[in-house]
Symmetry: D5
Subunit: 163 residues, 10 copies
């Protein structure tokens, strides 16, 4: 088993990530920066940036350089591991997810999946909401009865081909 | 195997639904109404209404009466099957889902689950976005490059108890 | 698929129950009785009674007669199906459970299972909390911030045999 | 395979825990302290503390300092691993669980899950017992026929949103 | 869902049994006979007989005739369904089993499987205990602290072929 | 992959065992002792002892000292790893088991599980054979047609609580 | 179990299809038409048509009318079951597939999946081949050593959104 | 977890590959060569070459020498690991695949598997498209609405033996 | 649950077979014929014939006529169900198989799969033994120590394509 | 991940094998010997020998010495790892198998399992073909249309005990 470390890469879902991922998380913790702060530095959204940290999105070389600068990591190293020749192998962690935060997302599919499908078909026809051409956003909505998380998926509708 | 029917209740995920569900879908098809139209009649959102049709939410007796009226189903019958004594047994269909529309939602958990969790923790602390006190909404966003589906979850943040 | 029915026996987890179970649920719905009211009539707890309705516990013939009387079901029929020769085939519904109420119980095992095991060992030694000699109770605890469910398992500690 | 060690972290469910977890367990064993004793020192319940040891709950920095003091572990090290930037990735061990202590909890879901759901609905309406705003307690109840484990979940009732 | 019936064939694991199995169970219940009593009539052990009732063993035509007589079932019918041309399709019910009685047997494999294997090898060499040439027996051993179940497997040791 | 070793701990089911388990197996192999011989030295049965070697049972400190002496392992080391603070995390190896010896035990549940359950209920009523208060024994029964393995489970009958 | 029928709808993967699917297959068999012949009549490819027969694609009302004419099925009936209000619930049959024809497709993913991904990335960048905007074609390529199946997927490349 | 590396071998599906695979990927990245370029040097298709890099195809010693030359890896080393005595253990990564590129291929089986099977049978009779005697090709088809991936499987038809 | 029947089609693996399969088994039982006898009548091997009865192979119309004659089933009926338009959907029953006869075949893959693969590669090179162009044979080999089953697979070797 | 090695032990199914297995494979590769050649040296069949290399069969000490001599491995080392105290933990690799060679064997169970069972019962009665007292053989049968693999299982028939 691994020795002491300061980032969540000890947990198994992270075991498949490139080694540089650990360094990104470590540097972020040491700098005390949020994803929002780092994201701003490279002109991206915080959710996209977090996904990239988890190896679920691909930095351009330029973005990688900027992130390396912000975090104080030698660009060379990150480029050699996450550079042009590297492609994300997406999909992270066991399913069904066991962590309650992630499980609640999974539960939304179980409980509302068919309803969402029905409404998409009624509004758009036979097709899907793309999860490739899709932007994910999280906002904090203050509420006196308890703040609310507003999670938005903005994905292109793709009609089925017929041939 | 079953005889001819006019609603999707032939498909297996629907096999667990109360018998009245078939009738709701059938009547909706015959009346040519959308979920939005029926939802408006009872003052609810179309996604919530579709969920209720799929047995994933609970009508009050009053809502059930209104839906019965709109669809021309005898209230007595629907009340006897979906009334006060009936409680949804939520969770519909196999996982991972095979239908591409629903799979894309599942894929959002696979690809963005950890990123969403990370941002929720950074913005709210140790807790979850409730899927019980949560509203789901779907909007059509016109776009010259292809219309977009905007799917929103608005759920209460619940901090972990410590004791 | 099945025709209209007034009880949750349409849902698949219930498909394995004896036919008489449907009648018990139906009669209960028609009489408008709660589990607590029926349980009182036979001197049992409401949770135990509900378990017996779901085929997860065994009535004595006498209890079955009383329940039949309270619900207005011919004793003969229930006795012939749930009588002395009948033994529960326990375990109901798919795992992991998809309904959020039941999933939260499952999640308690995922999140607190190891902690509970550790405390049981520290307090009792090497052994288990019996789920056979165990009583389950549910109380409603009023709370201004929202009522609370107090769920209690009172099970005998069984030390491991050594031989 | 790993070399000799003095804590249960060799077992696979623990393989996903942060490295500091091993040190907490080791120090606890060397000091000969119970969870109850350590919990008292930081004003928390023993079950919650055990959960935190297993990486299933989050210490505040202050709690972590106190625990470090009680166990004689350098605060710096634990803070760097379980500090503010660290978030639990909850859910520990395989399901169905194989250890009999934990399996019996799982069995309670299999056997009593539907009964518990039915009683919660009858007493509270359509909603769930939160496992996030939930306190778990274990008491030893002496009994001449064999001591009993009293395990209590005290969770907030959350009604389903309708929109 | 099925109509009322007086035997456990409603439960899903039994759904795969030949139709005559239901009749055997029904007749046994109506006659009020135990497996031991029926077994004696055909000169077999009660465990073997119960296995045959569950479609897990094969009656000879003669045994089937005797069983039919004891239970008052027309021999012709049982012969046509369980006769010479019929072969058991062994293996009954889901795994892991959910019923606590059967799960405890499964748990014996989980907990003691490797120990049993080790002792068999030490006492017999490289080979197995046959489950085909194996007799299963259950005795009740009275004990003031609670009666005990003595379950015995008496199986032929089969050494591995080497060639 | 691991380097040369003299015990079966290379195989994956053993990967979860405490490091000291390897040493126990190694020392046993070097001393050329059987489980029966070691068991006798501490006044226990060979099956229980083998289970303890596999981390499925808990030695008292005294037993551990004796075993350490018999095997020539420093008591200090074994005590520090399997001592008072250590609790077995029971359940070893994948299911269904792939090794034929262990699979045959699993097959006994598949083929005879329902028959065993039926006979236990007929002889004892509604309850289970405990696998916690249970002793497991293996005898070699000479037979001219091939020696037989006699495997016995002697477990306390536990009736279901009713409340 | 079902009575005699002339189409493959007896097999379980087809059990989820709308009842009209059976009629389409039956009529096709009775008319002795190939998918190619029917497809030509409505100006579609044979693979797409076969998919529609299996409930994996959606006919327009006009296409449905033409198919009904070609097959001699009353349009009314098919329209009422597969008409505008009906949406395919895609995904058919168990995975991994057991039929060797379909398994070989599955095997192509197992063996060549990573290679295909690598080449797509090298030729197109970070994105996917759409299975929604995708046309599937099958040609017979005569070959003296044995005819060859040429199976082609022509799918739009979709680059990942970045935001 | 592993140290920094420049190739995707950190990801778990690659964990089963021979060590030399990492070196092939690394050398390819450092040389900045595409699969197409390397493939050309040994007279093979790029898809086949990529498969061989992933350990899913077998180089001849001659091919391995050429690849070693192109990549500047000592032939000796690659020969000793992927030479004549080495046979691919095909099948890479978890199923269902989580990466969207590979999942879309899997989805093609789910959605079009039965249709493809039906057309193959109609065109060729009872048999399969071989995935052993099969060539896989990927072409980029420019399209003003977005370039298209044309993926072709050219496999021998194998009729079922009858005997 | 189904009514009385005289063939093994009650068991679930057979539930997916065409309705005519039941009739074939029934007629075979009533005529008291073995597979060998029926196979001889149509000039096929008994194993192939049994596979065809189980819907795992395809009769020609001529073979079907002969089988119908031998069994006294109207040819028309069997032709309409298993005729030219019908294609086997191969793969029967759950995996791992629970019946000991079939499980032993499965176990041969578990225990000897890698050894068989290694020898095939050494003797034939990189390729497979076809299960499509493969004949299966069973012979009874008398042996004083107990008769032996000789099961032979005679399959064409298929070398991997390289391109 | 592991460093360079010359044997297939890098692949995961082999990860559970004793360390000496790697050395056996390595030495075999370096000596350039086939299984047939080594097998001949110890008077065993090549399939059995390959199984023993994969840890699926048990060498006697004498066989191990001979193998060590043939391969030039110090006998001491192999004896200490695979000697008298070592017992195979049989069952290797994931199921369903992903490698096409091994999958085809698995497919034979899926497609012909029930037919083989039926013929065994018709020829031998109620019992099984032993996979313990079973010899496995592979022959190369030259054929102008392509050489054939003849794979034979010669296993003792074991009738079911009745008691």
């Amino acid at each position: 088993m691994s020795q002491a470390a300061t980032v969540p890469t000890h947990n198994s879902p992270y075991a498949d990530l490139p080694g540089i991922s650990s360094k990104l998380f470590e540097a972020k913790a040491q700098k005390g920066l949020t994803f929002a702060q780092i994201a701003e530095a490279i002109g991206k959204d915080e959710v996209w940036l977090a996904a990239a940290f988890y190896g679920q999105a691909k930095f351009t070389e330029e973005e990688l350089k900027k992130v390396s600068e912000v975090l104080g990591i030698p660009a060379l190293e990150s480029l050699s591991q996450l550079g042009d020749h590297w492609w994300p192998n997406r999909g992270l962690g066991p399913m069904p997810p066991t962590d309650p935060v992630i499980y609640r997302l999974y539960e939304s599919v179980l409980v509302y999946g068919h309803a969402i499908k029905a409404i998409i078909h009624e509004k758009f026809g036979d097709g899907i909401m793309s999860m490739i051409d899709c932007k994910v956003n999280i906002e904090k909505k203050p509420d006196p009865k308890g703040d609310r998380v507003v999670l938005t998926f903005d994905g292109k509708f793709l009609p089925y081909a017929k041939w």
